[in-house]
Symmetry: C2
Subunit: 342 residues, 2 copies
């Protein structure tokens, strides 16, 4: 039977209101009385009731806004699942969560929505940003001038006043791929990297992590260059063909981004899909299929659900409990999957 404010009030011989003021340090309580109340509360093991507090908060109408770019991509659809769960949880506790999904990358649209949110007095915003000077400025303005806390998710935008970034540690993701590649190739042979767009910062970090770990820990592995598919399956397939021609003894390929299909199909066509070790990213249906067929040896992933769930809940805890994020970076766990634990 949890202890209530009322019970503490009775034990201390004061009213509920006084107990509340004392415990929350709201002032207007005689110091010695406050002291006594705090002691009693501690002794009785008082834990405030979420239910009670939530009900009161319903009057304040806490509003959380989410802006998601590239919402049409399979990965973001997974993130959206986590958001919906968090939305329901927050709303059953009396808050409101509004999710705006933007197709593709469109910083202008994001800023429009942010303006709208300010006018409608949203209490906090989570957004998946893109590199844009204006957007950076706006994030800072919201944080500092308007006092509206901002959390970034999926991709980060450095040098801004966002209170937290929720997403993958992309460098570490690349390092993990390197460790696996080292293990399954026996630490020797030629290995290639196939990436997506040359200007994608997340993919570039994966490459950096991969390369540096190979250099440090697997001197027997020879990196034979990095190619870019620009997320095009046809280009990816073409790259594989050329690689196989140029390096007939190729041992492994690390695919940092999309265009997994092109890579795998090209390998299957040349009957090399067992021989050449492939490591990919993200647990998308397309990618899983290739793991099951044996063309991909490992997938490295990030907990997509958590990337949707956490930003909302962090804002909720900040606004509801005044509980700040533990750190500026909230990294998703790096998950390794093969065909046995997919």
């Amino acid at each position: 039977m949890p202890v209530t404010l009322q019970q503490i009030a009775e034990a201390a011989g004061v009213s509920r209101g006084t107990v509340d003021r004392a415990l929350k340090d709201r002032g207007r309580v005689r110091p010695e009385v406050a002291e006594k109340i705090k002691n009693i509360a501690k002794e009785m093991g008082y834990q405030p009731s979420l239910a009670g507090r939530a009900l009161v908060m319903a009057k304040r109408n806490l509003k959380i806004g989410i802006i998601m770019q590239s919402a049409q991509t399979p990965f973001m659809v997974q993130v959206y699942e986590g958001m919906k769960a968090a939305k329901q949880e927050v709303e059953s506790l009396g808050g409101t969560v509004e999710i705006f999904r933007v197709d593709g990358v469109d910083a202008g649209r994001v800023m429009e929505i942010m303006q709208e949110m300010k006018e409608q007095e949203y209490s906090g915003i989570a957004l998946s940003p893109s590199e844009d000077t204006m957007l950076k400025k706006m994030i800072n303005q919201f944080s500092e001038e308007y006092g509206i806390p901002i959390i970034t998710f999926n991709s980060d935008i450095e040098d801004t006043k966002r209170i937290c970034f929720v997403g993958q540690n992309t460098i570490q993701s690349g390092r993990t791929a390197a460790g696996l590649m080292g293990e399954i190739t026996g630490g020797k042979g030629e290995v290639a990297v196939i990436s997506g767009h040359i200007s994608n910062p997340a993919l570039n970090n994966r490459i950096r992590g991969f390369q540096s770990e190979i250099l440090e820990s697997f001197p027997g592995i020879q990196l034979v260059g990095t190619k870019y598919s620009y997320d095009d399956e046809w280009v990816a397939a073409k790259i594989v063909e050329e690689l196989l021609e140029q390096y007939p003894d190729l041992k492994g390929i690390y695919v940092t981004g999309t265009a997994v299909k092109g890579v795998c199909e090209a390998l299957v066509k040349q009957e090399k899909e067992r021989e050449i070790k492939v490591i990919g990213n993200d647990f998308l249906d397309e990618n899983k299929k290739w793991v099951e067929r044996g063309a991909i040896n490992f997938l490295i992933g990030q907990d997509s659900y958590m990337q949707g769930y956490e930003p909302v809940m962090m804002l909720f805890h900040l606004l509801f409990d005044d509980e700040k994020p533990e750190s500026v970076y909230r990294y998703a766990e790096i998950v390794i999957k093969n065909r046995y634990n997919l």
Copy 2:
């Protein structure tokens, strides 16, 4: 702004009580009125407020009891963390959660506590069972005769009326180990298994999964027998010594249970810790240490936190929302860790 019962009542021209009875099918509402109310609720997108419901439920004093055997083991200490989080969550919603920790395996003590819980009118119980005919009977009696739902966690006890088991799919865990062993040995060579107690069902399942997957998928690997350490580090070290003598070309060792320390120390002593691939289980500090030192290549784990958190929350949702577990088996995800994502 979430929709409330009051708003629906106004829209329907009835009282809150009537709306409540209609939506919950409690009867005592004219059918056509009930129909109309349900339609309005759906149109307005009504979601009941958890806060409101929880507050009312506080009167009923929902009590959940947990009995944890082998509570002193490092793994169970991790499970306990998840339980405490769930306890706090449930209690902040007006329920009560009592956790009883039993050192070692003691079915008699478990049954004593269960009796006590029955007398104190607990509403549901989660327990980590051990094989015991009396305990089985008691689980069935509680479920069927007393109507107190039981969930097993960590280890299961088959052929009983427990509503759900939360824990690892141990067969699949063994298969995953086999898949990794196959990859990192290049699919050939001699591989040994070192287990704990010969009568531990979970470890035996891991062995079964491991063996069958090696046989199916890696014909080049030769299994050179299974040894039992009986959880003794010294015995484990001795086994390794003998194995190395008997099979100088040994390529890999799968350690199903504890006594990882003995295995690794013996390998280090013989300077074989890099050469021989080792796969272990569970993310205990001791095990992690050996991964970092490079003596263990992979650890396969179960989400220990979830094994504590889920049983409590499942009982809570059952008792509070009348929401039954989706399936009788709630398996923890099988997690693969190496030194890059530990």
